[in-house]
Amino acid sequence: MLRYILRRIAVTIPILLGISLLIFVSARQISSPEGQLTLNPRIPPEAKAAYIEALGLDRPWYEQYLTWLGNFVTGDFGVSLVKNGQEVWPIVQSALANTLLLAVVSIAISLLLGVILGTVAAVRRNSIFDIVATFGAFVAFSVPVFLSGLLLQLIFSVQLGWLPTAGIYSPGQQGFDLVDRVEHLVLPGTALALQLIAVYSRFMRASMLEVLEADYIRTARSKGLSELRVISQHGVRTALIPVVTRAAIDIGLIVGGLIVTERVFQYPGMGLLFLDSLFAGDYPILLAVTMIVVLSVFIMNLVADLLYAVLDPRIRFA
């Protein structure tokens, strides 16, 4: 197992390097710190030149890349361009924590509901329940997230006043407050969960249908076990494997994928930070955000593989 992990990591390193190069080139392409400086008419050219030199912007791009890469690998994420010298890491760190919280909570709830819906839909295939659940899932796939988010906000915040519209804490709140924090999680979490439940329920349904056809289920049935036991003890367990591994992968993906949800609810996570730094041309933050997203994707993919092996006795790593 350890050898497998090490080998996976070894294989991943060149890929990560390639991606980092692409990201670096793209980030430099779409943000121009020189432009930010020139926007300000009053900075004298000498000061500008000194600033550009201090940032290393006058050196060839591959040198800039290698410097950045070296710093990144050693944990030095640099300083923000537009936030006047603030360290990048604390900014990214808090965004990462916020997004992970949202992702994990949302995925956990979606997984629970998705598995239940999917199982019922599979067991009662072609029933009204199945048809409605399928329809619901398809609608969830077909509604752009910014629309569903907007509607949630409109109904539950503006009209009903039940939940806050945006942010992670009520204004004036200092320090941690569980109730307040949770209240601010509900709407963005629901916007995300609507989609995830649809995915997981479809996944579970299909997985379950396949399991129900399997020989050992037929054997279990023929042994006279009750249908409920067959399904809960033999069916669900096996059918869960791909769904759970899928959810693990999602955690990694969602770290960078909540762009629209976070934008609608002004949730200060990785997606919002990505958008802000992209539009502000703050490439040190943009680079850090994208690289951390890529890393989390790879880590969670690895976790998913290991999870698969742990859950499915038929798979062993050579």
Binding site: L37, P45, V123, F279
Partner: protein
């Protein structure tokens, strides 16, 4: 299994209930709307137009906490560096905590701030053009003025501010400060500032529209003899820790800014009424409006957005300012994408093809009741009398003029319904603005239809704000035409805009803010003369002359002022909340006078 279906049924019931409740909620709102009588009053001095539901907010009550939405959260709060470039850094932070020498009153006129004993004038000897060509300003400090740490605000702070403005790494604004040769702080209560030559926009130094005074004590390492030690780049990036204003920052993060009253503040009638102000980011205007509607924030100061009139309704009250930003068509004569020269004739012809009233209606007609066309080039007609708002009044739609101007320029129009042509090129102008900005995209849509009969076509390519403002404008890589807003300052200094040597180029490292708008020597000279003329009457004459020259030259086509809106919950907030809607200091400038409605 049955349990699960029950759960689903329960969930859908809850959802249905929510929907019904939502529908009812909106009904209730409408009916309450009909019940209130609305009064529209235009106040003369502030240029604001207040629409307020009947004033039944109740007696103001002291204490409590108010929550405000900030449309653009400052990246950092340092008042010297590029962080200060965002208006919102000033509006949400600096204005409330730092003192100034001269300040703007509610009508955006320069007056002595509470830090001064009086304003310098020629008569009191405060303003003096010397025989050797130098220029001296003498400021008498107010002996009562103190920082929140108890130290008095003195001429040494003025000296420090000057050095910090010039020497801070990445300083934003050095214009004017560079002309200062010395600040004499031998008398702590008298600051004598000597300039190398006349400098008319002096009220905007150490105060005025964008500047402030900084305490010398904020940098313990400062050595007056070594100006390079006055580098403030590393302090106050996450909140200004000291105060010389009505408020002091208790904490500042990327998620909220908490201000509390500054107990040391010496100005009786500006002592804050509430105990705490919390500012939170609401950077998306839809979220901002939603938060106002839900009562999470009590007030906001949004840039006018389409539909504002309909969307900001009771219990939200609004005060709409004429605006501090001029929106117009900025013409880049050096546009890389041009297929022909962007001559004066062509620029005038475009101006003659536009029905600017119709454009103003489309752009801000859903924000203000009667949109006004802007006829000034460099000066906001609501700030002083620098512009009499007639410069561009001659540009109304005129087919004959367009024909005449373009024909004289060598253009032909073979097909009377088609586009003008010259050397095989159609008269099509590339036009950029901020993508996804409905107001601006509406203007584009209206103009494209409008100029079609005049034979002028457009190729629309829009960029996001960062791309347009950070990458393209500063390097003249846009246009020939771009639509955006430029801020106006109460002082008529326009050197930066029209300095012919300030055209960004490879050679000067793209410095300068004359982003391709003026290549006329006469206008450039006039702009400089305006800055050197310290006599207001003579200065006004120069400004008027420049205005006429600009309207002939047409470096850009002014369209309208961008309305500012102070929007607040009339049922939660009391006091003169909307008074500063048209202030260059932002709509929250007088929040010391705000209180919670009882």
């Amino acid at each position: 299994m049955i349990r699960e279906s029950k759960l689903i049924r329960l969930l859908s019931l809850v959802f249905a209930f929510a929907l019904v409740a939502a529908a009812c909620g909106s009904d209730g709102e409408e009916s309450s709307d009909a019940g209130t009588t609305e009064t529209t009053a235009a106040s003369d001095d502030g240029g604001t137009e207040t629409t307020a539901a009947s004033d039944d907010g109740g007696e103001p009550m002291a204490g409590g906490e108010i929550v405000l939405g900030v449309e653009q959260w400052p990246e950092c709060t340092n008042p010297v560096t590029s962080c200060a470039n965002a208006s919102w850094t000033q509006w949400s932070s600096t204005t409330h905590v730092l003192p100034r020498l001269m300040e703007l009153d509610v009508a955006n006129t320069h007056v002595a701030s509470p830090a001064l004993a009086d304003a310098p004038t020629v008569d009191n000897g405060g303003i003096a053009a010397n025989d050797d060509g130098t220029f001296t300003l003498t400021f008498n400090m107010n002996p009562d003025a103190v920082w929140s740490d108890g130290n008095p605000i003195t001429s040494t702070d003025v000296k420090f501010t000057w050095q910090a403005k010039v020497n801070t790494t990445g300083t934003l604004q050095t214009a004017g400060y560079e002309k200062i040769v010395d600040v004499d702080d031998s008398d702590p209560l008298v600051a004598v500032i000597t300039f190398s030559e006349n400098y008319a926009p002096w009220p905007d130094l150490f105060g005025g529209t964008t500047d402030f005074l900084y305490p010398a004590a904020s940098l313990p390492t400062w050595d007056p003899a070594d100006p390079s030690t006055a580098d403030m780049a590393d302090i106050w990036n996450e909140g200004i820790t000291i105060s010389g204003g009505p408020w002091i920052t208790e904490s500042w993060t990327t998620e909220q800014h908490i201000l509390v009253p500054n107990a040391s503040y010496w100005v009786e009638d500006r002592m804050p009424l509430v105990d705490r102000v919390v500012m939170v980011p609401r950077e998306d205007s839809d979220t901002e409006v939603a938060s106002l509607q839900s009562g999470e924030i009590f007030a906001a100061f949004p840039q006018g957005f389409p539909g504002a009139k309909d969307r900001l309704v009771s219990p939200i009250e609004t005060s709409v300012g004429l605006g501090t930003f001029m929106e117009g068509l900025w013409v880049n004569q050096l546009a890389p994408g041009r297929n022909f020269e962007i001559t004066q004739n062509l620029r005038q012809a475009v101006a003659y093809s536009l029905d600017r009233q119709a454009i103003a209606d489309a752009a801000i007609g859903t924000i203000v009741d009667s949109p006004t066309v802007l006829n000034c080039t460099g000066w906001n007609p609501s700030f002083g009398d620098w512009c009499d708002d007639t410069d561009y009044a001659k540009y109304v739609q005129d087919q004959a003029k367009v024909d005449e101007l373009l024909t004289a320029d060598g253009w032909t129009r073979p097909d009377a319904n088609g586009l003008w042509q010259k050397d095989g090129q159609d008269l099509v102008l590339q036009w950029n603005t901020v993508a996804g900005n409905l107001r601006r995209e509406n203007v584009q849509a209206v103009v494209v239809e409008m100029t079609r009969p005049f034979g002028i076509g457009w190729e629309i390519i829009n960029y996001d704000a960062g791309e347009l403002f950070s990458n393209r404008l500063p390097t003249l890589d846009y246009g020939p035409v771009a639509l955006f807003a430029n801020s106006t300052s109460p002082d008529p200094s326009v050197v930066a805009l029209y300095d012919i040597d300030g055209v960004p180029s490879e050679e000067n490292g793209f410095s300068g803010q004359n982003n391709g708008w003026n290549f006329d020597q006469n206008i450039s000279d006039l702009a400089f003369a305006i800055d050197l003329e310290v006599d207001p009457v003579a200065r006004l004459e120069l400004v008027r002359e420049a205005g006429d020259a600009l309207s002939e030259y047409v470096p850009w086509i002014p369209l309208y002022l961008l309305p500012n809106i102070t929007a607040w919950r009339g049922d939660i907030l009391a006091g003169p909340v909307g008074d500063y809607a048209n202030s260059a200091n932002g709509g929250f400038a007088n929040m010391y006078d705000w209180s919670l409605a009882g």
